[in-house]
Symmetry: C2
Subunit: 343 residues, 2 copies
DNA sequence: GCGCTTTCAGTAAGCGCTTTCAGGGTGCTA
DNA sequence: TAGCACCCTGAAAGCGCTTACTGAAAGCGC
């Protein structure tokens, strides 16, 4: 038997000796005589028929696959948030397709465009945006028609530009709380491992940390702020740089846990002990940091719930047409990687 | 201006005062008088036109989004492999959509069906299959028509059932090599933290390990084999169980790194030191294990390359119609989590 | 200057599906 | 037995796009 390229509904209808309309109805569970329905179902089964989603979507039926766009699925932070999205999606019988942009604005727009073209019912954008006017405009241009066309959009952790429903981790407050906690441990000289300045998340966390220190009369020496990519290796590199500079900091605050992990590796290689020689703190509370030795002190964000909430926002009708903002607080969790000064 | 639900090609054509065909051609870069082309492009821009991918696909154009299906993007193993897939896809100007099944066979089939329906040019399945005849048949039924229709499929790490191009980590040999390495350290009494027996990967790794021990005259006590989910918590639970049983093993082999991480956590909580009190080894070499303290001894699989190769297989025409198998070896890497017996 | 080829825009035929609209059986009532 | 209401099925009209195919205008050689 020479298999046809694509089995179509017409083939099924012919095999079952019914009309197209009846075949379609039978397959979609609408009212059809049991006898005919069985014939259609049997034919479909035998021919391994799969409806062409394009034709179906084109003909008006909506499909159930939402799109999620993040920077990098390889990063535990995004993986955790995506996990939350998927949980809620699963509960609602939605399939989730996840895309990684690798922080390439062009790719991000390409994905939005693709999802828009596919008429996905919802698009979620996860992760800090860029402070880049050109990109903002391009994304806006892509998103607006999608929204006008009835598409639903929700974002996690990017506020500046987009006027869409958002879930916002309280980066500024969280970093401030961390500053206070570290001050309470007696630290007075800090270093910060920062991510790219263009990210709004960086601005918020760094700002919150610095401001809270300032309130206590502690200044952050610009030489003690090292910038690197938001990755494990970025943290490793930034910490190495800091060590090379001979910083006198007693405590290092990495703007993300992933960077903190890299920093700890660098310290270990330099023969320094955490937290005896130097304290290390991170931000996010990705799952793995609990299993490190020492476990990482961090600002715990409810990562999974961030994703869940975003999905819920996207699923939920917003009649009041006002943009909804959901702020989600972070909580400082002191673990083994930080110690009292002099202890 | 009241925005229309969807701007269609017809709107653009009308705005530019040309025919549908001309508008289509202009947008697709086919030969059209520059003057007309500009008019069309300007109109499209002004109306924020995005072609409806469904209509386009239905009308015959193929699109450039490949689908990747894995068990759980939250798991660093899959994240790493997916990272490799994306690298190659990016080089080929393909977009990648990633889906997680959470080990639910039904969901897996739903995704394949969806991707098939969307006429994705390629589908990659990442991760161990199930030894479940019913599922095998269902998946086969879904995949065969896709392949017949010109779709390309490649899988990573599942061999039993599917007759498609495959990248196969050498689980059996790797586990055997690990057995030898651990024997060389002087261990004679082992415990294994296993995953669900239904996974082919489990059968291979466990079998390889056991067989190699047998060659050295060392038997694996069934009471020293504990089964749990392939997750961090699964490893934690399995290790706790083992401890409760009062096993006399001097070395624990976890069938995946993720489980090993959970196991270490359990040991730590029980006040046992790795590797002084007990050695721990894993399998996979996910990126994080290098940063643990102690770093984890494991069988290093080239995770990223697994993904790269799979994508390459899918991209590459296979005229010889024979199924291609790519075996990729693992290498034992001894790190701090294992020690010589009695040292 | 005439008939040819060449270019390029327009017309129209689908791609595979859903869904409205009509029509033809039934079963019921009078 | 005739009349009415229902329920199902089938015919057909799109959904928005691509792409033959058609036809008109323009360019060429003689």
């Amino acid at each position: 038997m020479q298999p046809r390229a694509h089995v179509t509904l017409e083939d099924v209808a012919r095999a079952a000796d019914v009309s197209l309309a009846t075949a379609s109805r039978a397959l979609n569970g609408m009212r059809v005589t049991p006898q005919l329905r069985d014939r259609v179902l049997a034919a479909a089964e035998k021919l391994a028929y799969t409806p062409n989603a394009h034709a179906r979507a084109l003909a008006g039926a909506s499909h159930r696959t939402v799109g999620v766009i993040c920077h990098d699925v390889t990063d535990p932070y995004f993986a955790a948030v995506a996990g939350g999205v998927m949980r809620v999606a699963g509960d609602n019988d939605l399939l989730v397709m996840l895309a990684s942009t690798f922080r390439d604005p062009e790719r991000e727009i390409a994905y939005v465009s693709m999802l828009r073209a596919e008429r996905a019912p919802a698009i979620l954008l996860i992760g800090s945006g860029f402070e880049d006017a050109r990109w903002e405009r391009a994304l806006e241009a892509e998103l607006k028609p999608y929204l006008d066309g009835g598409g639903r959009v929700a974002v996690v952790s990017r506020h500046r530009s987009l006027k869409v429903d958002s879930v916002l981790p309280e980066n500024r407050a969280g970093a401030g709380a961390m500053a206070r906690a570290l001050l309470d441990l007696g630290h007075r000289r800090f270093a910060v491992l920062s991510g790219p300045r263009a990210l709004t998340t960086v601005a918020d966390r760094l700002g919150g940390f610095r401001d809270e220190l300032a309130k206590a009369g502690v200044a952050l020496d610009p030489a003690d702020i090292v910038e690197g990519p938001f990755t494990r290796d970025g943290g490793y590199g930034a910490m190495s740089e800091l060590l090379a500079r001979g910083s006198a900091a007693t405590c290092v605050f990495a703007l993300t846990d992933v960077m903190a992990i890299g920093a700890c590796a660098a310290l270990r290689e330099h023969g320094l002990s955490v937290p005896n020689d130097i304290s290390v703190a991170g931000f996010d509370d990705i799952p793995i940091v609990r299993d490190l030795t020492p476990a990482l002190t961090t600002v715990a964000l409810p990562l999974q719930r961030l994703g869940e909430k975003a999905m819920e926002l996207a699923l939920t009708e917003n009649n009041g047409r006002r943009r909804r903002l959901l702020r989600m607080g972070g909580e400082v969790v002191l673990r083994g990687s930080t110690a009292k000064v002099g202890s």
